[in-house]
Subunit: 579 residues, 2 copies
């Protein structure tokens, strides 16, 4: 076999929906066949969706998932398919099943189980111990699962360096965050070059609770050059032709294999697949792809749109409702919701109080017109007054303070939830990461809702995303007034965010070092930030863990979001070196 | 040395509070010394509190914690102390430091890291690889940490069977749940008998977020008999005399050691501690202790009191506020709060609506009198009316439904939060596990608050706890009317829980199998429950994950609570075999 056509099927399954996921897989095999592929590769755990979390503690789920995986076999007549799913062999494994010509050939078990950041795989899986290659018409393949290829000397490198595998297939469910694609491409190129083998990496697509999987599947050639990249944040089935003289050519020119004794003969077990009739097809053009650009706002925007669409749709909702304050956070949330769901599925609600400025209502109305979404205007003054009267006997003689500020926010939260209950709309909340970090929000108030679209997006990126959206639409969907006014919660007269918080550029810099980098107070001060400010900001982060714990889920886009990758105790008196 | 006196110091540290925890340790060493002890044993991670979670991703925390641990050395002149804390030696380990006569002798690193249920130790620690014994005046000791002794062939058994250790010290942070003490005692007895060695198990005390550590430290003799048990849910420093001829006597009578070749000579490394002056003391009486009784309501009651006290106090609150509906859940929560914090620190609030029955208000008032707590009565009718008017233009023509029901609950939640904000009281919520399981609650309504005292207590146990409380007080603190009326949310006319849910005995049985045992629908039906009921209940559990995710933390008392040991995705379409 001189060339081999591999299809990469980066599809978007739904966690737990075994029947639909199986159906998607079968359809993608059909597409691959139509594209003349010899082989089709799917992502890790594509059959269950990822991560299934504690569904993996249910024996009935595991058995149903394994049974569904085995049903793929019958659809592979005439080709080879690598499909991710759970596999029981005494213990439970994260497996890559290799189907060939209508039958299961073998299952590879993931060796390295990630248990850091958002991952908990040690909670569920046994580590695979066996490694092997398979032989299809004289071409040698290795298969591995995600984390396995992140180790410089992991199973895929063994497959190539010990046993001469020419194609290293890596199936993954690798969550996206800003800057991740660049790191991934760099790593895969290096692995391909080190192994002098093709690397075929197929990644999942879609949003699952707080995670986004971006696709962007890759093929690198044996010199480490990027041959093909799948689209970002979209499903796709695409093919690439691998030239089987290339690994040999690379190995003749690169002495590292001979030094390591690769040519000495096989040491891993080898599975020989039966011959199948050659596929009739036209050769593809050969082009190299440019390396991934720097983290871009466009990608972030796409990720937020996908995350919103998938959470809403996969949860079974059609329409969403958003409180529109006239500020930048709710404007961006509404814009992203319109992109994700269509304007007809987004309802805005303006809920002015005695403290709302005139421009707030005007800006909210202007936004609704620009986005062509329905706007409800419901003043809360009467209800606020009723609450104050109800509380009067208890609050008598006490000054207006945080209690009354939060009351307004909670009336709005309750109002949105009433609309949700009455009409079946999902409430999207609008808090950004800077606010969530320091607890600048009202629990059961503005944080009340089903999904928090921008909870992992720092305030300054919120502005950049708005400007990107305007440029994309070619007009000021989000008006100048919204983008230029000073941020305010408008819960008392003349309130500004800057009354309570440092400027956002300063705040975000400190938060970045503390939240994403786990830097100590001393280290942050040494970077040149004022001690008083650093201590104040970090004190706010530490004290507001209880609020974050009751917040709705939202989309992870940074290296450390307030979700599964942030597990701080609520009761926590650690202050040494801080106060 | 013919007898050795060991002190067990089961103390209650606070996560992160290194200075106070160190201080507690130093005080306990003083008490041990006063009791004539040769050796004092502390729980696992006593210096940091357990679990510190992602504090263990902060280098500054780790260094401060290790430095604090090393400060214990200076306080150990004349005795030996085994103290749990973090230890860095290249990697990060969960360590048991052995201090002797003013110096650090060695640090044992935990081998087996639990990463299931509520545990995530693979996220943080490297596994220890080394095992050793130490020699104090000719007596051989092994040290291990928690999980290590749960393995039948773990490090402690190696210490005894390979190297003849006569005393196996196991330091633990073992969370309590109903029935756990019995399982633990059985296991420790078996280990002692298998090793023909004393087992000295010292466990943490106190509440930390959702977990309760119960103390109940144990000493088993080399025949597996229980020699001493520390108090439950209370701090204590107590001593026991170990007779050094006992392991030898056991080994002469039990041939298993000879079969395994234990007497063949040492194979683990051995650390010899320097001699110190003999301690002057009077011998203790020798008594055997009865095995732990069955899971008892008294223990559960104590656990809930400790959990409430520790969460409230360790979070820095003095007073709590509780909505009193006249029902059994809020009555029990108030009773437990009074036990935990004193009546003067508990405020009840009755918030009648147009749907509240007369007995509700009367029962709430009667309870407040019985408990001698302050009662505020704040009718919500005016505010409810204001909300209905505010929503009238949007809701026009639609029937009264869940939206209006939830509105009342959210008004009450908002009202309690306003009191919390104004007066600095922590809101305790009152939902029980049966309700939480099926989502029979209003998000941001009755579930709004800082801590959910009985969220892991099924409804029928709620009644038992009330009766236990009445018996303990010797009068009907919780009145007959509260205990006998049909449960109702009173959010519409004549509403009863039984309108929406199966009877509680049936509901709880199904929930037990599904939630605690991960049984499938088919299995539960096979146990004899009606299919329609099983499917309805399980459908409710599955659909309400989003609500539970935004609930406040509460005390874990069953084998599987809705907290760290329940990690289901929110977006989850798994229904095969169910619908």
């Amino acid at each position: 076999m001189m060339s081999l056509r591999v299809a990469l099927a980066q599809i978007n399954p739904c966690v737990g929906d075994l029947a639909s996921n199986l159906n998607k897989i079968v359809n993608a095999i059909g597409q691959a066949r139509a594209l003349g592929a010899d082989m089709v590769v799917f992502p890790e755990m594509v059959l269950t969706g990822y991560p299934p979390e504690d569904l993996l503690l249910k024996p009935d789920f595991i058995h149903a998932a394994q049974e569904a995986l085995m049903r793929v076999a019958a659809h592979t007549v005439g080709l080879t398919a690598v499909v991710g799913g759970v596999h029981v062999e005494g213990d439970l494994y994260n497996g890559a099943a290799v189907f060939h010509n209508g039958r299961l050939a073998t299952v590879y078990h993931k060796h390295f189980l990630p248990n850091y950041g958002v991952f908990d795989e040690n909670r569920y899986f046994q580590s695979g111990k066996e490694n092997f290659i398979f032989d299809r018409d004289g071409v040698l393949f290795g298969v591995s699962v995600c984390e396995d290829i992140w180790y410089a000397d992991g199973p895929p490198l063994e497959q190539a360096l010990m046993d001469g595998a020419q194609v290293l297939i890596n199936i993954s469910a690798s969550p996206w965050q800003m800057g991740k694609s660049r790191v991934r491409e760099r790593m895969f190129s290096t692995r391909a070059m080190d192994a002098r083998a093709y690397v075929v990496y197929c990644n999942l697509v879609g949003g699952q609770d707080e995670l986004i999987f971006d696709g962007q599947s890759l093929v690198c050639d044996p010199f480490g050059e990027l041959l093909r990249r799948g689209p970002a944040f979209e499903e796709a089935v695409f093919v690439v032709d691998l030239q089987m003289q290339e690994p040999f050519r690379a190995r003749l020119h690169d002495p590292r294999g001979r030094q390591r004794g690769m040519m000495e003969g096989p040491s891993l077990s080898r599975i020989v697949l039966e011959p199948v009739a050659a596929v009739q097809r036209r050769e593809l053009d050969f082009v190299l792809v440019k390396q991934e650009e720097d983290p871009s706002i466009a990608k972030l925007y796409q990720a937020l749109v996908l995350g919103t669409r998938d959470y809403v749709r996969k949860s079974g909702f059609k329409k969403v409702v958003i409180g529109l304050s006239g500020g930048v956070d709710s404007a961006l949330t509404a814009l992203l919701a319109v992109e994700a769901l269509g304007a007809e599925n987004v309802v805005g609600v303006a809920m002015p109080s005695r403290f709302s400025s005139e421009h707030s209502l005007k800006d909210a109305a202007g936004l609704a017109v620009q986005l062509a979404i329905e706007l409800l205007t419901i003043p809360i003054e009467g209800t606020f007054q009723a609450f104050l009267e109800m509380l009067e006997p208890v609050f008598a003689g006490r000054a207006f303070d945080l209690a009354e500020e939060n009351l307004q926010s909670r009336i709005r939260g309750t109002l949105l939830m009433a609309l949700s209950n009455k009409f079946g709309w999902l409430v999207l909340t609008t808090g950004n990461k800077s606010e969530v970090s320091v607890g600048y929000s009202t629990l059961y108030g503005d944080s009340a809702g089903g999904f928090a679209v921008i909870k992992d997006v720092p305030k300054q990126l919120v502005y950049q995303l708005c400007r990107y959206g305007n440029a994309k639409f070619g007009r000021e969907v989000i008006g100048v007034s919204i983008l230029t006014k000073a941020p305010s919660a408008e819960l008392r007269f003349d309130q500004k965010d800057s009354d309570s918080l440092p400027d956002y550029d300063l705040l975000e810099a400190i938060l970045f070092h503390y939240v994403e980098r786990s830097a100590s107070v001393e280290q942050i001060i040494q970077l040149g930030y004022a001690e008083e400010t650093v201590r104040r900001v970090i004190g706010l982060v530490d004290r507001n863990e209880y609020k974050r714990r009751q917040n709705p889920p939202g989309i992870k886009v940074t290296s450390r979001a307030f979700g599964k990758d942030w597990r701080l105790p609520i009761v926590n008196r650690y202050r040494w070196g801080k106060e």
